[in-house]
């Protein structure tokens, strides 16, 4: 009869708290330009949440702020205002709100926004993120995992794959910071990632593998572009990986119990 706390908004708030180290580091190095951009993305995301609340009776969510933060940080730098508005509106509406809001979406709205902006306006250069931001991703991931709102297996396996690649001497050094930041901001979203155990392991493997593949084979792409593309592909594969995990679990139970 008593109720706990971990409803949707609580998870969103804890996720927001977890990415705070990254947000603060980014604002510290980005200055007023970064701050203005964050205000713009927050305003746009909030606007669409408000529209869907009034038109479709969908409760707004703090997850909109997560999307806004990720887009403000990772979107290509020299986009015009119109392009940015178009990209965010597409991502927030098509990837999240038309599905019924956060918790019912399949893809992370920020991933969709970034993929839309990156591939729709290829002339715009991807931003060069300051290295301390990548270091700030480590406490962010730790807070998220300890609080249980970030998928531990994905983050751990992806980090292990990265470490293994470095150890094996592959030339992945330049993409590692971007890969880490995107891992925490986009891939580590609990809704858009695999929810089963085996699915989590496989997602982490897939993300790490894709990053290595892109780093070795994708010439002339910015590290952030590679990371966002890998995040999009992992997000798209998550339902399949979950289905594989559940089939394996069912097969194991059938073998055990007949």
């Amino acid at each position: 009869m008593t109720r706990g706390l971990w409803d949707r908004e609580m998870v969103a708030l804890v996720l927001l708290a977890a990415v705070m180290p990254m947000a603060l580091a980014w604002l510290w190095y980005g200055g007023s330009a970064a701050f203005g951009r964050l205000i713009l993305t927050l305003f746009l995301s909030g606007f669409w949440h408000l529209v869907f609340m009034l038109a479709r009776a969908q409760p707004p969510s703090f997850a909109g702020a997560l999307t806004a933060l990720a887009v403000a940080m990772l979107a290509p730098a020299d986009l015009s205002l119109f392009q940015l508005v178009l990209g965010i509106s597409f991502g927030v509406v098509m990837a999240e709100l038309v599905m019924g809001g956060w918790g019912r979406n399949v893809l992370h709205p920020a991933t969709v926004t970034l993929a839309f902006l990156g591939f729709g306006f290829p002339a715009a250069a991807w931003p060069d993120l300051p290295l301390p931001l990548a270091w700030a991703a480590i406490p962010a991931a730790l807070i998220g995992m300890v609080a249980g709102v970030m998928p531990v297996r994905i983050v751990l396996v992806a980090a292990l794959v990265g470490a293994a690649a470095v150890w094996a001497g592959l030339p992945v050094g330049p993409v590692l910071p971007a890969a880490g930041i995107v891992l925490v901001l986009l891939v580590g979203d609990p809704v858009a990632s695999a929810s089963t155990r085996l699915g989590g392991w496989l997602s982490g493997l897939l993300y790490g593998g894709l990053m290595i593949l892109f780093a070795l084979q994708w010439q002339q792409a910015a590290p952030l572009q590679m990371a966002v593309s890998a995040a999009l592909l992992v997000s798209l594969a998550a339902p399949l990986l979950d289905e594989i995990a559940i089939s394996a679990w069912l097969a194991g139970r059938k073998r055990r119990h007949g």
């Binding site: 009869m1 971990w6 969908q58």
Partner: protein, 417 residues
């Protein structure tokens, strides 16, 4: 410590439990025979109002199977018989009077004799079958029986304490249970595993964290229930009562019950009769102010006046059940969004014991996909097994209620087939 690490479950906020060793017998002045939650019993009364009855005397029989009786929990006078239309059992209230005890004649010790004894003495009601969580039918054959000598619900009485001094009866009851099923009998116990058990009984240790001590989790892990192979579970104390019933013909008068909750001045551990009046259990121990009486734990209990047939916990929570006032707009938004989306977190996974693909199961329940839910193990589960997930996620509507709807739908399909 390391067993805690291996055990899959959640550490819940600690609640005060009685620490004193004594366990006084508290027989409330009123008690009632009721059906378990979600169970519909059509009954024939064997006595009328105002009749004087002995403890353990059959008072009513099921119309579906007249061999199954429900008995008086204490010696007393039948005060009120409330039947719903269709002779569905509402409640039969008794006032305590005298101290006569009904002696059940134990027949032959074969399967038929033991079944007849269980059914005639009312102990049949302490068995619960899965799928669906009801009393088994009179001729039903169980694929296996789970005996629960552990309970991890917050504030639950320790079954090992309740069994102290009744070890021989418990072993005899287990031996009798083995004759009721062709499959194995599983004994789930916490800690050292030192309860006496005859050969052939399979011992399982359950972890210390909730929900590992729920029969649903153990059944799901060890022997999943199917519609054509039902699994029964029974509390260890009822097994000891069964053993004593075989030996003496007398039905146990009391059961160990813990009374907890924030509305109490101090928690209690006591022995009371089945169907005891919850007001009587809390009397003299309540803090002033409004409170809610639950039969069951704070997680899976329901508001009630009487201790429900299989419950061994009473919980008193402060406050009233009317929800906090919400602005009309916020309330309308919340209603429009039902069922609220559930975010897959580590807490949710642990709340279902770690093994079950929690999010997939919850999605199947929310969308009413009975096939997928059954494939993921919903037939082994009951409301109490999902109560922790409800607590963790604050889901609306409750996940356990969604499971009940689905189980009822599957049961209707099975009956039609």
């Amino acid at each position: 410590m390391f067993t805690n690490l291996r055990s899959q479950g959640l550490r819940l906020p600690a609640i005060a439990v009685a620490t004193t060793a004594d366990c006084p017998v508290v027989l409330t002045d009123e008690a009632a025979i009721t059906a378990a939650r979600n169970e519909e019993l059509r009954v024939d009364m064997l006595v009328g109002e105002d009749a004087l009855v002995a403890q353990g005397q059959p008072l009513l029989r099921l119309r579906s199977d007249p061999r199954i009786a429900l008995v008086a929990p204490m010696a007393g006078r039948v005060a009120r018989i409330e039947l719903a239309p269709g002779r569905r059992l509402g409640q039969v209230v008794l006032f305590r009077e005298g101290d006569d005890r009904h002696v059940h004649s134990a027949g032959p010790q074969d399967e038929a004799g033991l079944r007849a004894l269980l059914q005639g003495s009312g102990l049949w009601q302490s068995l619960r079958r899965r799928p669906f969580g009801r009393m088994p039918g009179g001729d039903e054959a169980a694929a296996t029986i789970f005996v629960m000598a552990c309970d991890t619900r917050p504030g639950a009485p320790d079954p090992r304490l309740a069994l102290r001094g009744q070890e021989d009866e418990f072993a005899a009851g287990l031996a009798a249970l083995q004759r009721l099923t062709k499959g194995p009998v599983w004994l789930c116990e916490a800690g050292a595993g030192d309860l006496p058990a005859p050969t052939g009984v399979r011992r399982v240790g359950c972890g210390p964290l909730h929900p590992q001590g729920l029969p649903g989790m153990q059944i799901h892990r060890l022997h999943p229930a199917r519609t054509d192979a039902p699994v029964w579970d029974i509390h260890a104390e009822d097994v000891a009562d069964f053993g004593a019933l075989i030996a003496t013909g007398l039905l146990a008068q009391t059961r160990a019950v813990s009374v907890t909750g924030a509305a109490l001045r101090e928690p209690r551990r006591l022995r009371c009769q089945q169907g005891a009046d919850l007001r009587g259990l809390g009397h003299g121990y309540l803090r002033p102010g409004p409170h809610r009486m639950l039969s069951g734990s704070a997680l899976d209990g329901h508001q009630a006046q009487w201790l429900a047939p299989r419950d061994r916990q009473a919980t008193f929570l402060p406050g009233t059940s009317t929800p906090a006032h919400r602005h009309w707009f916020a309330a309308a938004l919340r209603r429009a969004a039902r069922p609220m989306p559930i975010i897959p977190t580590a807490a949710l996974e642990q709340a279902l014991g770690g093994d079950i693909p929690a999010h997939a199961l919850i999605r199947a329940l929310a969308s009413g996909d009975s096939e997928a839910a059954a494939r993921l193990g919903a037939l082994s589960l009951l409301e109490e097994d999902l109560a922790l997930a409800d607590y963790v996620t604050g889901a609306e509507p409750r996940i356990s209620a969604q499971l009940r709807v689905l189980l009822d739908a599957i049961a209707i399909e099975e009956d039609a087939a």
